[in-house]
């Protein structure tokens, strides 16, 4: 298995986020989650629903390289319908995070002061609504103390602490699932819904994860499992679904 790359491991870890979800819209952001969702749908989560990234649900499982004119569309979902789906809860999104904190607050809007940011990012987008309406996971391809931070500069996706503080309006359907980084897999099973290390990717030490994280992680004592390695069949599927190797451009190693 020496030819299994870190990107392959991350893909499996992302795919696992959708296990058991049934018939929900899978909304992956980034190449690795996009491949993970397709892999999950091809294997253990066949009822997942994918979109064309524009305004339709797609039939079957397109590859990452399928051109828009080759997609088979099964129904029309303009943005008004997308929001209806978001608010219905029948969705599990995996967003990226420029910053994520101990309780799963996520920032994709700006670094620094919101009024005059040091770095303007994409904006809050739909993260505030996504995170309080349906299952939400995060993908962070570059795990370091600037991405896993004690406190995010702008709260876009809402974390467990803030959802609880806002009451049932926010917390009733708030459902943070997992964070996958290039170093490991995390959930929110720590004290008070804080982030917990679930597994380290093969070749990563727990100490590496701790050093790259700007807050105290739960689950770092004792034996920490290793993220599972894809089977040969899964590796073959990954190559089929990602013929140009987009996942390797997102994660080194």
């Amino acid at each position: 298995m020496s030819d299994v790359t870190r990107a392959d491991i991350c893909t499996i870890a992302c795919a696992e986020a959708w296990r058991g979800d049934g018939e929900v819209m899978a909304s992956p952001f980034g190449s690795v989650p996009a491949l993970g969702a397709r892999l999950a749908k091809s294997t253990f989560a066949p009822d997942l629903v994918l979109t064309d990234g524009e305004a339709a649900l797609v039939h079957g499982i397109p590859t990452l390289a399928t051109r828009p004119n080759e997609l088979v569309r099964e129904s029309s979902v303009p943005y008004k319908t997308i929001f209806a789906i978001v608010w219905s809860g029948r969705r599990h999104i995996m967003m990226m995070a420029s910053q994520v904190d101990q309780f799963g607050n996520q920032n994709i809007a700006a670094i620094g002061d919101h009024a005059k940011p040091k770095a303007q990012l994409v904006g809050v987008r739909g993260a505030p609504g996504n995170s309080v309406n349906h299952a939400t996971s995060y993908w962070v391809p570059d795990h370091n103390p600037r991405s896993f931070v004690a406190s995010v500069d702008v709260v876009c996706g809402v974390g467990n602490d803030r959802a609880a503080a806002a009451g049932p309006g926010a917390s009733r359907f708030h459902d943070l699932r997992r964070v996958v980084s290039n170093l490991g897999v995390f959930d929110f099973g720590g004290p008070d819904g804080s982030m917990r290390l679930v597994s380290v990717h093969p070749g990563v030490e727990v100490a590496d994860v701790v050093a790259a994280t700007g807050f105290e992680l739960a689950g770092i004592d004792g034996t920490v499992p290793t993220t599972r390695t894809p089977s040969d069949a899964e590796l073959a599927l990954m190559d089929e679904l990602d013929p140009r190797g987009a996942r390797h451009k997102e994660v080194a190693g």
């Binding site: 008004k80 303007q120 987008r125 809402v158 009451g167 309006g169």
Partner: protein, 295 residues
């Protein structure tokens, strides 16, 4: 039946300093760019823009026309962030009221329905709430009785205020002279709500046809903008360029890249503006044609 046909220039004449302007489309998709370009040449300032932001916001902000923007993003879709927007934000030259994409929808819907707000879970606990203290929450009034849901008893919900617009402008594939309009691309976005939320309602179109003939140009159910939503229509072929407006034109990715690359560097940007944005719409279309022939 009133003939609502006019020109893009006449539409721009109505846009005055200090107004709140809603711009239809989404990101770099189906933006009324001809009207945006026309505004770049006008004296108007101090606009508040309400937009699912794309190059419309970047261009107007860079040109100094805008004091405040209400949005959840300013994107070029295939390029994550409009560079002119990035520069303005990092220089602190524009005020931003940042809202969740779905709340934005509810704000337009509330204005179109003439109610002061619509409730949502979205926004609670996020920077949308903390960065804009003017946003309020509302207590769920159904704490008991036949309509109560125990799981939401005691819930505070985000009260998204109506986003009332002085003027809304949208761009479509086909409009008729009476002001009905048809979007033939995959998503009509929220254009009907922008129009519904506005006091004055403008439609620009690739093509304006005789009243009552829209069904000859596409399935009637695509004519989602009826004439009760519109005051004026103006024909402006290529008026969404370089944003996506299928089936008339896909996004001009090559030109968008030229725009985004130029926008990152002040000197290159000046040259871009001089070449493409110094004249009227006909001059723009001609300059783009010349550029294209050179590629």
């Amino acid at each position: 039946m009133a003939d609502k046909q006019t020109t893009v220039s006449a539409l721009a004449d109505e846009i005055e300093s200090g107004m709140t302007l809603g711009i239809g489309g989404w990101g770099s998709r189906r933006k009324p760019m001809a009207l945006v370009r026309e505004l770049l040449h006008r004296d108007v300032t101090d606009l508040t823009l309400v937009s699912y932001g794309g190059p419309d916001v970047g261009l107007l902000v860079e040109a100094g026309k805008v004091t405040k923007v209400i949005c959840g993003f300013v994107t070029l879709d295939s390029i994550a962030l409009d560079p002119l927007w990035r520069a303005a934000r990092q220089a602190g030259t524009v005020e931003l009221t940042e809202v969740d994409e779905g709340l934005f929808y509810l704000g337009l819907q509330a204005a179109a329905w003439r109610v002061p707000f619509l409730p949502a879970r979205a926004g609670l606990g996020s920077a949308v709430q903390s960065e804009t203290p003017a946003f309020k929450t509302v207590a769920n009034p159904y704490v008991d009785g036949p309509f109560s849901d125990p799981a939401d008893a005691g819930a505070e919900l985000f009260a998204m205020p109506a986003l009332r617009l002085d003027i809304a402008a949208v761009h479509v594939n086909v409009a008729d002279t009476a002001g009905s309009a048809m979007v033939l691309g995959p998503d009509a976005h929220f254009d009907d709500l922008f129009l519904g939320a506005a006091t004055r309602r403008f439609v620009t179109a690739e093509k304006v046809v005789a009243a009552g003939t829209l069904a000859e140009h596409g399935p009637l159910e695509r004519a989602t903008i009826h004439r009760l939503l519109t005051d004026k229509v103006a024909e402006t072929p290529g008026g969404a360029h370089f944003t996506a407006n299928p089936p008339d034109a896909p996004r001009d990715e090559a030109f968008q890249k030229l725009y985004a690359t130029a926008a990152k560097d002040p000197e290159t940007w000046l040259a871009f503006k001089e070449r493409f944005l110094s004249g009227d719409e006909a001059a723009y279309q001609s300059a783009v044609e010349t550029w294209r022939s050179e590629q």
